[in-house]
């Protein structure tokens, strides 16, 4: 039974927020073994249960026994480990630190080596595997407006439907949902005790508010803004505890919370503080301590009728993210023709100050790309950003953001054509070279795409996630894992190395086929020798470069994308699904670069490839508007219906709010899709390396992630300084 609605409690949150921020960001990374122990116990105890049920019981066992950390951020209930930045381990999916995380934070190399007891490692050897892929957003209306009890009702209503596997999966969903409800009640109970233990009346009030809320949500519909956010926080963290690794996104929180718009409008300051505290709670996601979990909030935007969906919560989230210096979650603002001036100006101000958030994504090309892919317009216009900058729809579509088995690095494939395909020596012209590249891309993509469903089935069978699956639209009725059934099943394909490939093609055209100052065989020989011949390097460096609004280079960008279209046409003709392509990086441009030999754009072996769809660092001569103009030549709706990332670095002297406004308006108003503006001051970044203690709150956009600058590896810090220096050259 739902208790009588209560009035929201007014608490002075600012000092509590500041202290919570200090506790979270002041903590060094360490490890919490609780989840690893509890999941291992459950795996042993329920060994004979069907896998989905075992997984659900494991979640229940963890939630029932884990430490509840109410101290780090007492404003909301919810945690994943026993303290701030204590890694929560998912041994089901391995006990190593990922390569890209090490690129971002080199001090985390081998971090877990001496922190995981031998018995745990021994148990999971041979048992762990790929799974918990995240990269989705659930339907938050289930959590906020209907409550998890409604999911239990739905499950009960279709309990007997379908085959045994579906019934079994529904049982797992039920166990998982009940576990989350019980977890909330645990939080409520603990909060009442905590309220009595603290001497600080404001903190006590926080605990009491949590206690009251968690007795109601997420089981029942939220009665006020606080409860709604509390429900979202608990469910979000629970899905990670279930076993999702990263990139579980919040979706469209301002839309999900629209019915609390009046409450937020009545007290914008309190609403902003709640949103700040909520962002900080999401930032407590402790799977990899300080490493980014690429959790996205997407706010603003229009619906399919073009009606602006901005509400008081849109402003509250903007303001909230301005008040706390979280680097993750990431905040994206959806931009469209009728985005209110006040929103645009607030965004410009935040970016101008170097906040590096929000990131901007434009509605028209993005929703348009989804519509072209066969998605109903009302759903397409409900898109959100997932992960680094991939796209999906809460509760409806996420495969586009996950791209199992389909990824292509165009520079790498071009290099393989040049270095491994003997025919490349004799190509007579650019079309002949592109033809080889097209064949190569088809050959690379086909096997992964062919095995996509099989790979998904394997992961779903070994490591199902019934809680998350139950929170997708129609999840209870389908009675299967989200990997095996979603309202929209549309594949995605990751793309990287694009900018370098464009530069390489432009150089080959000019030097080999036009000026004839290089032969193809000389070029290839030089690539094999890591560009040892300085005269070749000079020629390659002087060739036209992508990102300068120079058609001699930019037309190769279009040629490459048309080539990709032909590749997909061929794959579709082979009976394979057409994927939506997303240019995505995170920080893989370093890992990719290490693998890729010297390339015809003048890049040496082992060095990074481009960090976004924009110009390769150091190759622009015409300033930011020229780079945006280059990118605007690419029809995002046609070519990047899965999303793009475009990093634009500005020096502070060129980053006044009206200038940033104009750059965004000019870009987004003319078909640009995603824009990540980083205002970087070379001197400040150098200072931050010298005196990190003074720059704890300096958040920067790296590539497909944001981070606290002082916590980044040398590699990343120096890359950001190089970008800042390159930008300052045009100031």
């Amino acid at each position: 039974m739902i208790a009588t609605a209560t009035m929201p409690t007014k608490i002075a949150l600012a000092p509590i927020l500041a202290a919570a921020q200090d506790r979270l960001f002041g903590a060094a990374d360490s490890v919490c073994l609780e989840r690893a122990r509890l999941v291992t116990e459950a795996w042993q105890r329920y060994a004979d249960d069907p896998v989905p049920v075992k997984r659900a019981k494991a979640l229940a066992h963890i939630l029932a026994n884990m430490t509840l950390d109410s101290d780090t951020n007492p404003i909301f209930a919810g945690c994943m480990s026993s303290g701030p930045r204590k890694w929560m381990l998912t041994p089901e999916h391995g006990l190593d630190v990922g390569g890209q995380v090490v690129i971002e934070h080199d001090d985390l190399r081998g971090f877990l080596n001496d922190k995981v007891p031998d018995d745990l490692r021994a148990f999971w050897r041979g048992r762990s595997g790929t799974g918990g892929l995240g990269h989705f957003a659930i339907d938050q209306s289930v959590v906020v407006d209907r409550g998890l009890r409604s999911v239990l009702d739905e499950l009960a209503a279709c309990e007997q439907d379908g085959d045994a596997q579906q019934r079994e999966y529904r049982a797992a969903m039920r166990i998982s949902i009940e576990a989350v409800i019980d977890w909330a009640h645990r939080w409520a109970k603990q909060a009442r005790i905590k309220a009595q233990q603290t001497d600080d009346p404001a903190v006590a009030a926080c605990h009491l508010r949590v206690a009251e809320a968690c007795q109601n949500v997420p089981e029942h519909p939220a009665r006020n803004l606080f409860e709604a956010l509390q429900a979202m926080a608990l469910v979000h963290l629970a899905m990670h505890i279930e076993g999702h690794h990263m990139s579980v996104s919040i979706g469209l929180p301002d839309r999900a919370l629209a019915r609390f718009g009046d409450e937020a409008a009545a007290d914008p300051d309190a609403a902003a503080n709640l949103c700040a505290a909520f962002a900080l709670k999401v930032a407590e996601n402790a799977q990899m301590g300080k490493a980014s979990m690429t959790q996205c909030f997407t706010i603003g935007g229009a619906d399919h009728r073009g009606i602006d969906q901005t509400n008081a919560l849109t402003f509250a989230f903007l303001e909230g993210f301005d008040r706390v210096s979280v680097s993750d979650p990431h905040l994206f603002i959806r931009w469209h023709r009728a985005t209110p001036e006040a929103v645009k100006n607030k965004v410009a101000k935040m970016l101008s100050r170097g906040r590096s958030m929000p990131l901007v994504v434009t509605d028209e090309p993005t929703a348009g790309g989804f519509v072209d892919a066969g998605i109903a317009a009302p759903d397409a216009w409900n898109y959100c950003v997932i992960g680094c900058n991939e796209l999906g729809i809460p509760g409806l579509l996420f495969d586009t953001a996950m791209t199992i088995g389909t990824s292509i690095n165009e520079l790498e494939e071009l290099n393989r054509v040049l270095l491994d395909d003997a025919r490349s020596q004799d190509v007579a012209d650019m079309p002949a070279l592109l033809s080889l590249l097209e064949d190569r891309c088809v050959a690379v993509l086909e096997p992964g795409l062919r095995k996509r469903r099989e790979a998904k089935a394997r992961i779903a069978a070994a490591f199902p996630t019934p809680l998350s699956s139950a929170l997708m639209e129609g999840g209870p009725q389908r009675g299967c894992d989200l990997l095996m059934g979603m309202p929209y099943d549309i594949a995605g394909c990751y793309n990287r190395g694009f900018s370098n490939a464009v530069n390489a093609l432009a150089a080959i055209e000019q030097l080999v086929f036009e000026n004839k100052t290089l032969t193809m065989s000389t070029l290839i020989a030089s690539l094999r020798e890591n560009l040892a011949d300085a005269s070749v390097v000079d020629q390659l460096a002087a060739a036209p470069k992508w990102g300068n609004d120079d058609d001699r280079a930019d037309r190769w960008a279009i040629a490459l994308l048309e080539l990709r279209k032909r590749v997909w046409d061929r794959l579709v003709a082979m009976g394979l699904p057409r994927a939506l392509v997303c240019h995505v990086v995170r920080s893989l441009h370093h890992l990719d670069g290490r693998r890729i030999a010297a390339s015809a754009d003048g890049r040496f072996a082992g060095t990074p490839v481009g960090d976004s769809l924009g110009a390769v660092c150091g190759s622009t001569t015409q300033g930011p508007t020229a780079m945006l103009a280059s990118v605007l030549k690419l029809d995002a709706r046609r070519y990047f219906s899965g999303g793009t990332n475009l990093n634009l670095t500005l020096p502070p002297s060129q980053a006044a709010p009206p200038v940033i406004r104009a750059l965004i308006d000019g870009f987004c108003g003319d078909g640009g899709q995603e824009l990540q503006i980083n205002v970087l001051d070379v001197a400040q970044l150098r200072q931050a390396r010298e005196h990190p203690e003074r720059y704890r709150d300096l958040v920067v956009r790296v590539a497909g992630l944001s981070a606290r600058f002082i916590e980044l590896s040398d590699t990343e810090q120096l890359e950001l300084i190089a970008r800042a220096e390159a930008a300052a050259e045009h100031a």
Binding site: D549, Q622, G623, P624, T625, A626, L628, A629, L632, P652, S653, Q654, A656, P658, V659, R661, A662, L663, D665, G666, F667, G669, D670, H730
Partner: protein, 243 residues
């Protein structure tokens, strides 16, 4: 066909008028300022200059029109001295005006009045350099006639309603003495209608032809502030210094 001799085109200029602008630096200058940071733009017949047909030049710079529109910016013709090519400039500005673009002329004003008069109807904003108001000082630093620039500016102010922003480059060893700063301030205070006034710091590097060494045109910050104060004391309102 009408053409313009162009020294350089620079996109994303933030200090040559309002908004985001594309600045076209035209070839040729009537002055020989020792602190000039771009002396290559002086000779009108420099072979390195690019000769553009007007439609082609318009098309080239309109690549950034989306950002002009978004920022309230536009095109600035600078130099060199753009008014040396007054005929081409007038035709080019007319062409840009037809496209609805905001047009700025950045001039030192040392040209025949007829050239100013020819271009004036097509100008949306003048950026007018006043380097000195003293004939001898002006001639020694620039080689030009101060009366020409001052009279031309007065004509613009009296005969047109086009907004004018006076830019005073404060150059070490040229016009930074208190007496000179006061003279400029007095002259500006007596103008027939209000203008915006902007003081510019000299560049780090200039080349004094009378000295063999490179000489800085830049004032130390306290001295620059003192010049600003002199202007303010005369009742002038100054625009913020562009960073």
């Amino acid at each position: 066909m009408e053409t313009l001799r162009v020294h350089n085109i620079q996109r994303f200029c933030l200090h040559d008028g309002p908004g985001i602008r594309t600045t076209v630096f035209l070839q040729g200058c009537s002055l020989r300022c020792w602190w000039c940071h771009n002396p290559n733009s002086r000779p009108i017949d420099d072979p390195a200059a690019t000769v553009w047909s007007l439609p082609a030049l318009a098309k080239e710079i309109e690549r950034d029109a989306r950002f002009w529109r978004a920022s309230g910016g536009g095109v600035t013709l600078s130099g060199g001295e753009p008014l040396l090519q007054a005929e081409g400039v007038e035709a080019f500005m007319t062409l840009l005006g037809r496209g609805g673009h905001h047009r700025v002329i950045q001039t030192a004003g040392c040209v025949a009045l007829a050239k100013v008069q020819a271009v004036a109807p097509q100008v949306d904003l003048w950026l007018w350099d006043i380097k000195s108001v003293d004939a001898q000082t002006f001639r020694s630093g620039t080689g030009g006639s101060v009366n020409q620039t001052l009279d031309n500016l007065l004509w613009v102010l009296n005969a047109t309603a086009t907004p004018v922003r006076v830019r005073v480059p404060v150059i070490a060893g040229f016009n930074d003495a208190p007496t000179e700063a006061r003279r400029i301030a007095d002259w500006l205070a007596a103008l027939p209608r209000p203008v915006d006034i902007e003081l510019l710091q000299g560049h780090d590097l200039g080349r004094d032809p009378s000295a063999s060494a490179v000489k800085s045109a830049r004032l130390a910050d306290p001295q620059f502030t003192a010049v600003r104060q002199t202007m303010r004391d005369r009742g002038l309102t100054l625009l913020d210094i562009p960073s």
